[in-house]
Subunit: 381 residues, 4 copies
């Protein structure tokens, strides 16, 4: 297995959802093997998970500090670590591995504050370590195709963007027994936002990856529609981008009938581009003269950089796992190039630590807008 | 033709779009015949239009004042008048006919100001004259079905509503030669809003007809995305209804790829209801347990009051004309009942002069919010 | 009303479905007025229907023979008759009016046999009378657009066509009390086929109107899926067209979940064209390079002859009534041209008596194929 | 890695499409590791592929005969072999491994004749070796849900089934340079059918997996629509199932606009079930009363056996890889149970060697029907 990279994981013990998802996505392409981990604070769970994945006993660690130290010193130490712990510990774990000189992949949100996020940006830059934040959706070929069309000027200057991410899983008043709901609606564990932090940031990031646009100012309305909740479950945001274009976002977890209904519509001077996550392998392109075109993964018109990710011809869905695996493919390719002393920056095509910082800025500005009575908040550079 | 009612029309001469549309919709059901009119200020156009529709020469009038006076005094005078002139003259023409004791159907928007609208409400009430404002979309069976399901508590208390009406016809920078664009973008003729007044009010009214909810306060962002325009072409509004529920509306005329993309989604405690005008004969109903159901005009589950409008079984579209014709059917039935001294109020199922007033209040509040820098504006009762 | 034509109707008394549908469609455009009729064999129903439509008492006839004779001799006699009686009487009534020199519109199927249909063709030709058979679906703008694209060679030579018309209304085993079901499943009244005759012929005709292709030979499988039925309720047909292309049709009335699911897909050397009646205002066009385009009524690319029928801009559905009204518009325009001694043949754009004959040939050949054990049957020229 | 099974692969060298697809699907769930292989007859390709996947040099074999013999004798020999070679060699390779006592997974079609398929069935049974044939589509949760609903009688007795699998990739007349096209259209390599053998069998198998129904007799029309071709590129089949229900299938590779458009619609006495591969995570369920319901992977109503395969909640697509991985999960679970001496037959939920045999019978009967002039052919038991 000499050509494969090796990686470690923090979090993602048995029973976790997102840990296995990352392991599956990495495994699909066979470019990296899981070789070390600290999967749970519960010793038994930790050990079992490690054994199930065939880890050597001495690379199943009792905590991330020990893990970072040990892997740093092994000649065959891990090439990168994947952090899939609860949000509150992202920052400290990521910092620990960066300080140990190990590249990091961290689930979103990157941290609990803009300040923490800024520190991680600085540290990654200083150490020249590749840092991916796994906003999954920009891994879809169709999203990359939209970015390519926007860059080529296909729809001209962007005028307005409409983004939404409705879910319905928090619609019930009584969520007793649902562990996800318990921590997400608890300000102690989740911070000052639930819905905007959890899924609103996906709108923010996917729009950014598609268009390159950053937000100049925004105004938010965050609601608790279910009595007794302390954090938002239905929120709307108006934004203004740096180029003067406007945007309107809506994120909800009380929208019965939706699962992961992320939908982005971008309107330019010469056309519009539409993408819907649940049918994520296609996009709609509407032209100035009113022509309506549907473009699928696998079509001849797909940009060659985007098409290069294809594992199967069109018409056979690669799905959400394919999107996440695309991120890992690119991240690993860049890591390999970096290790080989080859140029890698122009290859980079994954959401990184700066995307993570933007997400934190977005959330903080929304909370401030809401607290001040729905007013415009200008985002710091 | 003794059983048919007779009606007159002001506006709608040859070359007009909306005048013929109303004549067609009324003709479909054969419940009223066009017998008088003043179709154009141009004498030749006026005469030709009247002759084409077989009017007697003495009932083709040179202006609406003469028409109201003459019809009032004829023993076989018209039962109602249909006003399809440019917006600026709606108020004065409607007032003239009401004062002559003649029932009125008027295209939306009802007037140019809340004040004018209030006067028409008062006058209609005082004269006990039926007054329809032709917001067409609530004529669809599917919209009536949604209202019925909301009334019956099918989705429980409403929490949030998302409404949009995107069009693309004003996307081009240079609209030279387009007469519609010329007057709609001219504050002298169109008032203080273009997009919100023209199509934003359709969101407002359709939501109101579906749910019965009125707006308590709102905040608007009105944009001119095309340089040099004096009125909005892309606008967003956040609303709060009297029951505390929230709403987010978006209306645009620069959204390339959309024709008349009115879409309303209503989220309640126990389910959600979705309607899209361009596929207007069906609705989606999502249940609390996640079940997704599609309901079509003609289905067995359709409420009997709504089903009573059907001309054809399901699967054969009655379209936009069917929706407008439904309004006329109900209006004429109510008129007949009123004339016969029978009860008619509980039968009334058309948008009336109060809907017209709400529309004016909505527009004025939006303009005020925009002018004050996007702040909350409380609507008067 | 000097510019309007006048028409009479046979059949379509109160309680009928298709009679009122034709009256509505004609009324929409105001090009012809109902002036005579024989709506029912029941005297009371006949008189009431006539009065409701404002007919003079002397033009409400007790039978079609009297009607044809009287209208023939009136100076203001009807310009055409609309026949909407049960199928068994189409032939004799149509013949009677043709012999009286009156143009005919007849609902499909034209007759009960190929022989009857041939006689009507010959008589119409000999008398030079315009004869429309109201296969409604080719009235849709989208269908006309497909014909135009096929004629222009947009998709190249046609290779294969897939057509289907599923309905579900006969799925229940016990149809007691359903009058439609009673006569349609009775060989005495319906002839030798139910489903193929009723809706299978719509596939046959719509394909023919779209492509101009006629069937050279066919093979049919006609089934009674519900025990005890004497006529088919689920049938499939393979066809071969005169150009060598193949076709596969399926018509069913036990296909639960479908209302009027007519769908035609045409595959050529250079592209394909798809149309679905229940969303009848649009079509799909797939290009050789895999591009997928959706074209709507109202779009700029619509052929000018097809676009000329538009009453409303795109995005406001004209529906099934619009399609039927389009047929009447064209038929009446042709009648007027003929009366004025102007050329009219190149204008003709409606399904005529020859379409009616093809329909009868299709049905007879299918029945023969089924009776001989599902074998190929060559159609006569 | 003690808990993982080990597998070998024959075929699937670098540049192959289906080999890597199987490796990815197996890797997703981490239940088996690739440990041996014979990937290509080209020594260099074989060695490189093996090294890339980290195989020990002594388990990269020069041919399948050597591989079967060696693995049979190793104490750590592979638990199963995956055969992804060209169709002509499926039989002989599968037989070799079965004779060596090694369980087999083989891509479809199983063999080149019914006779070969029968021998493999007999051998697998005699050796009590689990044999999966990778018809992928029945791996979708939605397909399993349909089977479950059919079994539970949700739609009553099945009356008719409509299946289609259109593709467009062979639409061009000149396929020079396309290697897939070259061998698939060559009777020497592909046998007596192209389209029906390649994709028509997917209709046959998916219907069988959904409903349990087998075909009693069939009639086929196989066409070469492109001049000069020796094998079918557009074919239709009528079938009759053992319960008397009918079916109509259509498979095409000249249907421009389709990628992998497999669609199955099942009509029963009390409802219908619809599935479309390109949106394969959902199904439509139409009820007797006309209600239309959409059911998604992840919904609460999904049968628990089907839901047990879920890796992610609904709304995040697992795609085609997820479907194939589901087959492997179940196959490996059954293998483990068999090895442990536990009951496994009732767990088996994958298409097996008998499915492979049915596919061969289907193809041979279709070819016979075509050669005899489109007549009914009764299938052997």
């Amino acid at each position: 297995m000499s050509r494969m990279l090796s990686y470690g994981m923090v979090g993602g013990g048995k029973g976790s959802l997102i840990g296995p998802a990352h392991r599956r996505a990495i495994a699909m392409d066979g470019k990296a093997a899981l070789c070390a981990g600290c999967f749970s604070r519960k010793e038994e769970t930790n050990r079992q998970t490690g054994e199930e994945w065939g880890l050597d006993a001495d690379r199943i660690y009792k905590d991330y500090i020990e893990m970072a130290a040990a892997e740093k010193n092994r000649p065959d130490g891990i090439d990168f670590v994947v952090i899939v712990t609860p949000n509150v510990s992202h920052y400290i774990i990521a910092r620990t591995f960066l300080e140990a000189g190990i590249a990091v992949v961290c689930d979103k949100p990157l941290a609990m504050s803009v300040e923490e996020a800024r520190q991680l940006c600085a540290l990654a830059e200083q150490k020249e370590l590749l840092f991916m934040v796994t906003y999954v959706y920009s891994g879809y070929t169709a999203v990359k195709q939209i970015r390519s069309m926007v860059e080529q000027g296909t729809i001209g200057r962007i005028r307005t963007i409409v983004g939404e991410y409705p879910q319905g899983w928090l619609a019930k008043e009584d969520m007793t027994g649902n562990r996800q709901a318990a921590w997400r609606l608890d300000p102690e564990q989740a911070g000052r936002s639930n819905t905007l932090a959890d899924i609103g940031t996906h709108i923010e990031n996917t729009v950014h990856r598609m268009t390159g646009l950053s937000i100049r100012r925004l105004m938010a309305r965050m609601e608790c529609t279910v009595p007794g909740r302390k954090l938002d479950d239905n929120s709307a945001v108006w934004v203004e981008y740096e180029n003067g274009a406007s945007g309107a976002y809506w994120a909800s977890q009380i929208a019965i009938g939706h699962d992961n209904g992320l939908r982005i519509r971008i309107y330019g001077e010469k056309g519009s581009l539409h993408w819907f996550q649940e049918e994520g392998e296609k996009l709609l392109y509407y032209m100035e003269d009113g022509s309506r075109m549907e473009i699928h993964r696998g079509d001849a018109v797909i940009d060659s950089r985007a098409a290069a990710y294809d594992r199967m011809p069109g018409g056979h869905s690669e799905g959400w796992f394919g999107a996440l695996a695309n991120h890992y493919c690119n991240y690993i390719d860049c890591l390999c190039a970096q290790k080989a002393g080859e140029p890698y920056r122009e290859k980079m095509d994954f959401p990184d630590v700066n995307d993570g910082l933007s997400g934190m800025q977005f959330i903080e500005a929304c909370v401030e807008s809401q607290e001040k009575g729905n007013v415009w908040i200008v985002l710091e550079e």
